[in-house]
Amino acid sequence: MSTSTTTLLDPTAETTPVERALTPRKASLEGLTVGLLDISKPRGDVFLDRLEEHLSRRGANVLRFAKPTFTKPAPADLRHEIAATCDAVIEALAD
């Protein structure tokens, strides 16, 4: 029996993702600022319009955002703007 070992080089990026705790769930929508992010797929606005109605009725302030295109990640500036102005965000697919 051979006892030799083979060393293989790692094909991955050898990075460890940063893990962050989820933000605590909000007890109420009253007075919260909720961002609605439209990823710019067809009829995303139909879905988000309806969500906005429901959220507003429950006392939330709704801010609307949209990605320039659904095919690419949201630009950093947009992500920062949402983080700076909203207590919560809902990102919506559609079609």
């Binding site: 293989l8 080089l9 991955t12 990026a13 095919t71 690419k72």
Partner: protein, 334 residues
């Protein structure tokens, strides 16, 4: 003792097929295939935007089964797809079954033994398959792009394993794809196109260029969907026997593209939402218009395939331009 092939499956390094163990000896030999420094950062690899060095590309090229002389092509392909205009992140993440289709031009293709002839899109050629596979393994291993995670493809496609081939330049009646895209003749170039799996357009009866160009246009009209126009690109892979009809007629690439374009005009009324009882389609504002199937420059034409067979192949694209993916070419350097 751990079986090394099984160990690589267990670590998630493979695309579902066994890979070649990346020993230090093999990786060193692979790095001899390029003059670039091993620690040079080639690109930030989506989706994790991880720094991708020449060495990491080499390790994945070993996994994929590449020979060292293929490495410059893999490096150029990595550079091409990791651009904002090609948008590898979106191509990986989309539910649509599309992936990077690589076309290689220039003398390097023959020098490293790539196939541009019989069964060009099929099995049997190490260079074609390993180069395409190496790119996908870099996306998987360095970028962290795996099916069921950021990769959300509904069906995916066999092309997501490897879709890479060379153009048959010597037998073509036309200038090559790379020359058409602005490179000097004789330059080694890889072009990345975001595409579906290929499908065949059969025409075994046309003997005139005029008949065949209409027939090919018919085949192209259904790329992605007959209901999509302008917003999605396409690729047409013309076989030698089909290309011969255009050579006989004296049609150069420009004439062929012009004639093809005239037969790819679509009456918008036939593809409006609701037309023919189909809800998918264009908004009513397009009524009465005549529209091109492809935007200017949105159809890439390549000459490849075996010497016999009256078939060409169509590869449907994806959302094009700044909204999606732009075909992207890079010179292959030693």
């Amino acid at each position: 003792m751990e079986d090394e092939v099984e160990a690589m499956f267990d670590r998630g390094w493979t695309d579902g097929l066994p890979v070649v163990p990346p020993t230090e000896t093999r990786v060193r030999a692979m790095l001899d295939g390029t003059s670039r420094r091993s620690d040079e950062v080639v690109a930030l690899m989506p989706p994790n935007l991880a720094e991708c060095t020449v060495e990491k590309v080499a390790v994945n090229a070993v996994l994929a089964g590449c020979r060292p002389e293929y490495l410059p092509v893999v490096l150029a392909a990595v550079e091409a797809v990791c651009t904002d205009e090609f948008n590898m992140h979106g191509i990986l993440a989309t539910t649509m079954g599309i992936g990077p289709v690589l076309v290689v031009n220039g003398p390097i293709a023959e020098r490293i033994g790539m196939n541009s002839g019989i069964n060009v899109l099929g099995q049997g050629n190490r260079a074609n398959l390993a180069i395409g596979r190496a790119l996908q393994l870099v996306v998987r291993n360095v970028g962290g792009g795996r099916p069921g995670e950021v990769d959300r493809a509904t069906h995916g496609s066999p092309a997501k394993l490897s879709f890479c081939f060379a153009e048959d330049e010597a037998g073509s009646p036309w200038t090559s794809l790379a020359v058409d895209r602005g490179f000097a003749r004789g330059t080694d170039v890889v072009t990345a196109f975001c595409g579906e799996a290929p499908r065949i357009v059969t025409d075994q009866k046309s003997r005139s260029a005029d008949s065949l160009v209409r027939s090919l246009a018919d085949g192209l009209r259904s790329a992605v969907s007959t209901r999509t126009v302008i917003g999605m690109d396409g690729m047409l892979i013309v076989s030698p026997e089909h290309a011969a009809r255009f050579r006989d007629a004296g049609w150069d690439r420009a004439r062929f593209m012009e004639e093809l374009g005239t037969h790819l005009e679509v009456e918008a009324d036939t593809i409006l939402a609701g037309a023919g009882g189909i809800e998918e389609g264009l908004p009513g504002g397009f009524a009465g218009m005549t529209l091109p199937k492809f935007r200017p420059g949105g159809l890439l034409v390549v000459h490849a395939g075996g010497p016999a067979g009256l078939f060409s192949s169509v590869v449907g694209g994806w959302v094009n331009g700044s909204m999606g993916s732009e075909p992207t070419s890079r010179e292959i350097t030693p």
